[in-house]
Amino acid sequence: MNLWLIPVFPLAGFVINGLFGRRFSKSLVNAVAIGSVVLSFAWVLKILAGPGDLETTHTEHYFTWIQSGALNIGCDMAVDRLTAVMLLVVTGIGLLIHIYSIGYMAHEGGYYRFFAYMNLFMFFMLVLVLAANYLVLFVGWEGVGLCSYLLIGFYFDKKFATDAGNKAFIVNRIGDFGFSLAMFLIFKNFGSLDFATVFQQAPGSSEAILTTIGLLLLVGACGKSAQLPLYVWLPDAMAGPTPVSALIHAATMVTAGVYMCARSFPIYIHAPAAMNTIAVIGIATAFFAATIGLAQNDIKKVFAYSTVSQLGYMFLGVGCGAFSAGIYHLMTHAFFKALLFLGSGSVIHALSGEQDLRHMGGLRKKVPWTFATMMCAAVAIAGVPPFSGFFSKDEILVAANHHAPWMFWLGVITAGMTAFYVFRAMFLAFFGEYRGDVHGKHAHPHESPPVMLIPLAVLALLSLGGGFIKIPALLGEFFHAEEIPEDPTLVAISVAAGLLGIVLAYIMYVARPGMADSFVAAFKALYTLIYSKYFVDELYDATLVKPVVNGSRVLLWKGMDAGLIDGMVNGIGARARNIGGVLRLIQSGNIRSYATWVLLGSVLVIVALGIAGGLR
Amino acid sequence: MDSFIVISLIKVVVVFAVLLTTLAYLQWVERKVIAHIQVRPGPYRVGPHGLLQPLADVIKLITKEDLVPPYVNKPLYLAAPFLAITMALLSISVIPFGPVIQVAGYQTAMQLTDLNIGVLFVLAVSSMGVYGIALAGWSSNNKYALLGGLRSSAQMISYELPLSLTIAAPLLISNTLSLRELVEKQAGGIWHWNVLHGPFPQIFSFLIFLIAGFAETNRVPFDLPEAENELVAGFHTEYSSMKFASFFMAEYANMITVSCMATLLFLGGWVAPWPAQYGSSLVPVAIFALAGVVALYHGMHPARRRDRTSLPVFGIIFLIIAAVFLLPIVQSWLLPLFWFCAKTGSILFLYMWIRGTLPRFRYDQLMGFTWKFLFPAAVLNLLVTGLLVALVS
């Protein structure tokens, strides 16, 4: 089926734009970048439309990549139903966001660089999805991390952007460390890194080993998918351009952890302790991030914490054994969260860079299309039936109830908070009076060009109707999942929580605008706590970063480096200088004396050859 | 073994006697030809029609004072003319004038020695000829001579490239490096000659070869090294007497070599333009007879008094030669010799003709011409020839 073509198209786009983009016109850069993604998308469609319903895994072997002793790793790619869903999400959403970027990035510097990085990201993401063994997956895994770093730090002349890039990269290292250990363990136990081989042998292995592997993989997934306690990089990652936030930090890359856990389900289903850990981390993250989201004023930060929270839902689903529900939510989340980000990007674009909700308001009439599409996403994420978020969240909550009822209730509360903060952001931005500087540069918000609105519209349709793509039905057989009976009561409870959140937000920010401030005044301490994100950054800074920095400075730099290593190096250098002072006499700068040394050497070589040759 | 050495010695003596005489008379011919182009009689006083002029010149040059200027680098100054004439004469030794013949029961080739890398030998020897001129120019301790020598070496190195490249093209067609085999492959008539034969007629090759050959021998229009009006006389300014004569002879010997090579490589050597059964063997008879008749006729009505005896004598000699060509015994070696001499002579005549016609190049034009036109043209020609030969075979 020539699966390799799917990632290679964006790679070609990256190479062309990366090498020659500087000299290309913008339209040519667009043509290359978007054309490559279109080709990739088209190839995905062709493969999916082809014969076979992908019941079984189709694997293609291209070449042996690493061959060393027992380690034999091929460059293999595989496609099955799970991969198919991911491929559609990645290429489809990626394509829409690429198109959107034409408008959003039109006035930015480094235009070709942006699209080259985006294409490179697409390449690595598709490698990640298509990989047929852990190492190839790891290549994509690291590659998307690299692209994330490059794109977060896209405005590299701003310090906070580069710092955010570094933060994302370093935090992800912790996760990758766990992932690497997991791979070592997998190879040690199963003698292979191929999915097929590993998963075939998994049922026969001891539970302790499977649990260890599962937990280590979870560490990797927590880093990539921004789960507790490694979520701190994601809110900062909003320093990148908004399409990047939408594509990488909402729709695709951050879901790689969920995908990886779902992919490794044969390991997890034999390691219930690991599963339980996933579920706990998931629900904790969902709840925790949602509370922070309640009080953020930066529109992108709100959605960033919302992303963390929704990713927590996905982990909850995976942890509860409802892998298909996790993937289901992954897909719907990709639709509505990408839409929310792109919409907020459109708002920011309209206000020429303003991101603070307190300076918005009343934009409903200024940017009606953006408002309309974002509203679709908002109702979807709030879980209002029959829109997409309702179905997937419902699946997860039902599974959670089956797993442990307290998780269900925490999930319901989170759902209510989700609805509240999303609509809070919507109401603050679009309703009421315009609170920005009436005479300043943001005085006249303008609607975005059609090239940005069309992707918004498409995503809005998907957000509304995406729930009818029944992923659980599609993947149920793949994951060998047991059927969990629907319970109308549970559905009603979660829907009610969502509606309650919406109503509360309406009352506080539209009907009685003063009410929010009085609440803040009443719960000052609590508000400060969540407004400051529970001081987690400060905590990490004090407990981890500072000691490491100081330890490095005092012990490693002043002690080890300057004292011991430099002392050694300088000592060797001094000895070398002394010896060199003697040898310098040979380096007379006279070519004929050099030639004499060569001659001496060759005479010695001939003598040595004679002796070695055993001549008489 | 002994007879081989004796025959070789005889051949050496004969060839070099003939060659030296030819060198002397070639100069007479040139003066005559130039004179007639310029509508004047040329040498006329010494002997009938100035026929003894070369002899007089030789006597003059030998008896002249042999002057060695002060402050020259003496060994090299003395070696240079010797080197020049040696290298010029050496290449004659591998040139075949005719086929293998039977003389008095001995079978021998009309050639001093048949090397199977004859072409390379000629190239090698001619490339060594540069030293004579370069050293002469340098050792004379004279800036005109030095400039002449420098120019000449630069020119000869530059023109050697297209020359070698064009030689490669007919060699590709004939598939041999032996000059004898080269001619034997062209036997059978004018359409088998390399200049017209093969998958790609070597007409361009021939032209490039002639042009580069002219430059190699420092002849008009490429005689920059001895441009009188700029450099007095170029590299041999400081030479006199027989040393000067040596350079002179070297130049003419080189002309002969180039002409012979052109004949052998492109014009089929000693092969007649059409087969003997169609009467090619009668051509020399007809030519010499016609010349004899014309000479006799002019002798009957002489324009000058001394022609009254000389022209009839010439006429009778020509007629006798014509008669000799009819003798079957000598035909086997005389006919090839005739055709060889006729072809070589035509090219030599072309040399003279051009000298009487064309002006001299400017130096930058000269170098630009070879590097920017001649060399690429030769490469292209070689490429096309090679391709076509590869395709046909």
Binding site: I591, R592, L599 | -
Partner: protein, 102 residues
């Protein structure tokens, strides 16, 4: 038919090579030094062709041929360098071209 011992050829090659080295060591003129290198190359070529005779194989000739090609390119570049050196420093003495020293 009495031939020449093959060791004579090789000895001749050794003598020429040694003379080349001597020229390289004892001469100061860059051009002469350069010519000494050419002399060494020639000596080695003689060895190669002698070996070719010894083994009755053409390979030695090919090596010698490549040596010639390399020598030709080396001469072109080397002489250009010498011209440039002379133009900038007005000397051909190899010991005076020492601006890299100290």
């Amino acid at each position: 038919m009495s031939g020449v011992p093959i060791s004579w050829y090789l000895t001749l090659s050794a003598i020429l090579f040694t003379l080349g080295v001597a020229g390289f060591l004892f001469r100061r003129n860059i051009i002469t030094v350069f010519m000494s290198i050419e002399l060494m190359l020639n000596a080695v070529n003689l060895s190669f062709i002698t070996f070719s005779y010894y083994w009755k194989q053409v390979n030695g000739h090919l090596i010698a041929f490549f040596v010639m090609v390399v020598a030709a390119s080396e001469a072109a570049v080397g002489l250009a360098i010498i011209l440039t050196v002379f133009k900038n420093r007005q000397t051909l003495n190899i010991d005076e071209v020492d601006s890299m020293k100290n």
